[in-house]
């Protein structure tokens, strides 16, 4: 059973589902997030029934140690991530760690976790040695960290307090799940025995499991890239004349929705009421600073770069809102979105974006 993979997949799924609290209860993105969590669980169920041999390349100790070092490096980077909860960087590192662990689980033939098949004496001894080392390594790191931060002063304690809600704690949880596998991968010698022949059905099961694991790992990355690449979906400008208007003026409500991304998405709604009297146009609502925000965002962060309303000398009122949208995974990607509207003194909409 690939228990570490299962748990990591579930952590990633739950993290993705919980990281953003602005999800509308019935939105498509919420549905996709739930489907993704279900996919992670299904992947976990499938892979636990499949055992795969490491193959020649992963059977080499040098390769395995390289993967372990990459995983350790990811944990260290996670510890170095500044406070701020489950940020995009942590999720990305978590995905990478999951990938490393899938590789290591295969490289060690999952001897570090309980298996449906009995282990031979060598494998059992290897697993037991791995667990003993893992216990004292993790207990030593955690104990030493607790002691040093406690006695190093209030600043160090404050760091530990912050660490419990950010990357370092997640790194600890990951190690608490994966460390035995990592240690077994580190200490196991080169495999010289060829892998036993596999039945056709088993080969297919391994392929299905591999596809599901790849889908679980890659779909968040693709969704994050989609924020950058998928064209923005903007609705037509809707215009409704207001039944009640100030004396001598006419008013209309303008509405337009713009969506960025698929699954990892942000939705912006321009919803404003503008009145005009032939001399100048003015807004009633919908052009304030508080309107410079996304109406919904799922697994992305939105930062405002411009929020301005201007009344021109010719009587035109215009509103400009520019924001950067960063996916929570691969957060170095960014998409710029501009929402803009200008209404002249006769009620004509000069420009919308």
């Amino acid at each position: 059973m690939w228990i570490p993979v299962i748990l990591l997949a579930l952590i990633i799924g739950a993290g993705l589902a919980l990281v953003d609290t602005t999800v509308s209860p019935f939105g498509l993105s919420t549905l996709l997030t739930l489907i993704y969590v279900a996919l992670c669980a299904a992947t976990a169920l499938v892979v636990r029934r499949v055992t795969a041999q490491p193959g020649n390349w992963l059977g080499r100790r040098r390769v395995r140690r390289g993967v372990v070092l990459l995983a350790v490096l990811s944990c260290l980077l996670m510890v170095a991530v500044p406070a701020g909860g489950l940020g995009g960087t942590v999720l990305l590192l978590l995905l990478f760690l999951a990938l490393c662990n899938v590789v290591l689980a295969r490289a060690t033939a999952q001897v570090a976790v309980s298996l449906p098949r009995p282990l031979d004496e060598r494998q059992g001894s290897l697993r037991d040695h791995g667990y003993r080392l893992a216990y004292w390594l993790l207990a030593g790191i955690a104990g030493l960290l607790a002691l040093v931060t406690y006695f190093a002063g209030s600043a160090a304690r404050a760091w530990l307090g912050t660490a419990l809600v950010s990357g370092p704690f997640i790194a600890f949880v990951v190690l608490a799940i994966c460390l035995p596998t990592m240690i077994v991968a580190w200490i196991e010698p080169d495999r010289v025995m060829p892998a036993p022949p596999q039945s056709r059905s088993h080969v297919w099961a391994v392929r299905v499991a591999a596809v599901m694991v790849a889908t679980s790992l890659l779909s968040p990355l693709l969704a994050a890239v989609g924020v950058e690449l998928i064209p923005a979906q903007a609705s037509q400008l809707e215009r409704y004349s207001s039944l009640v208007s100030p004396k001598g003026s006419s008013c209309a409500t303008l509405r337009r929705t713009t969506e960025i991304g698929f699954w990892f998405e942000a939705r912006f709604v321009l919803d404003t009421e503008v009145c005009w009297n032939g001399h100048r146009a003015r807004y009633l609502y919908g052009m304030n600073r508080s309107d410079c925000m996304a109406s919904e965002w799922v697994l992305v962060s939105v930062s405002t770069s411009q929020c301005a309303r201007r009344s021109k000398p010719n009587g035109t009122v215009e509103f400009n809102y520019t924001a950067w949208i960063h996916p929570d995974v691969l957060s170095f990607l960014a998409r710029r979105l501009r929402v803009s509207v200008a209404v002249d003194r006769n009620g004509n909409v000069e420009r919308t974006k």
Binding site: A139, G140, Y150, F151, R157, L160, G161, L164, V165, I177
Partner: protein, 314 residues
């Protein structure tokens, strides 16, 4: 149930008490709990021939398998234990009426000690639970005595006494921390034409593992004198400066005991000076866990000038 399993149950209960958010303060009994856990840990260690600490080559096949099984379970249990500690620290923080969030765990000596004991004792405890045999049934009971001069039955008690002794000695040797005093002016609180503020004084011994002298009171000042704002609200209802004849200038301040070392006697006095300065001197007697066998006095004093300025305390 065999006696090793009973001991395990007792250890789990005591550890839960140590890590529990209730009671919010152990009132100095924490060191005794730690001594009990160490003593029972030594007992179980002896009973298991210290197998969790021994090399594989020193164990036979069955013993090695049992030990390795214990380590596998301990690895999983350790994660659960840490999670429990973090959650209880949060709950304890809420019960204290504070919202420090995760700092509650990082700042609590109780959780530090509980975590260290968890790491050190867990494999032995799990091995004992899974095997639960008495020393008489052990096949190699006589081969693992590394301290033959000390009777086996005495070692757990010695370990407990050693813990208390070291704790008490540390209490003696560790210098007390510096006095920290904070005065927060209260603009809405004034008295007899003076300005008042909340004063918090604290001095720690052993960084929270010893004892803490925490005092909070209200002080007022009017440019000519400083006085204890709490005391002036007392039954006398009179401006208490200069001190009333026959009424000793003893301020009624709260002193908190720590989790691990009890504070036996406490006193707090006010000293008024002709310059209008008020000096608060608080002191407490901190005892070790062995019935006051090792004890020490910690003292904290600060002075507030007639203009509300806090002079350096000692």
């Amino acid at each position: 149930m065999s006696w090793p399993r009973l001991l395990v149950v007792a250890m789990v209960l005591v550890w839960c008490l140590l890590a529990s958010p209730v009671p919010t303060s152990l009132r100095g009994s924490g060191a005794l709990l730690v001594a009990f856990l160490v003593a029972t840990g030594v007992t179980l260690g002896q009973n298991s021939q210290w197998r969790v600490w021994r090399r594989t080559s020193q164990l036979d096949e069955r013993e090695g398998q049992a030990r390795d099984h214990a380590y596998r379970l301990a690895f999983r249990a350790m994660g659960i234990g840490i999670f429990v500690l973090v959650v209880t620290a949060f709950i304890a923080d809420v019960l204290h009426g504070q919202v420090r969030g995760p700092l509650a765990f990082a700042d609590g000596p109780r959780y530090l000690i509980a975590a260290l004991l968890l790491f050190g004792l867990l494999p032995t405890v799990i091995l004992t639970w899974t095997e639960a045999r008495s020393p008489a049934e052990s096949p190699s009971a006589t081969t693992s005595n590394r301290l033959p001069r000390i009777p086996t039955a005495v070692r757990p008690a010695l370990a407990g006494v050693l813990v208390l002794g070291l704790w008490g000695a540390a209490l003696w040797l560790v210098p007390a921390g510096t006095v920290r005093a904070i005065v927060v002016p209260s603009p809405n609180l004034s008295m007899s034409g003076g300005t008042c503020g909340a004063v918090q004084i604290s001095r720690q011994l052993g960084d929270g593992l010893g004892a803490a002298l925490n005092i909070s009171t209200n002080i007022c000042w009017n440019g000519r004198h400083a006085w204890d704002g709490d005391r002036s609200l007392g039954p006398a209802g009179k401006y208490p400066f200069p001190p009333v004849e026959g009424n000793p200038p003893t301020c009624s301040l709260g002193i908190d005991s720590s989790d691990f070392e009890p504070i036996s006697s406490e006193s707090c006095t006010e000293e008024h000076y002709p310059s209008g300065e008020l000096r608060i001197v608080a002191q407490a007697r901190v005892s070790s866990g062995i019935d006051g066998w090792l004890s020490r006095t910690i003292r904290a004093s600060i002075a507030i000038t007639a203009k509300g300025k806090v002079l350096k305390g000692d």
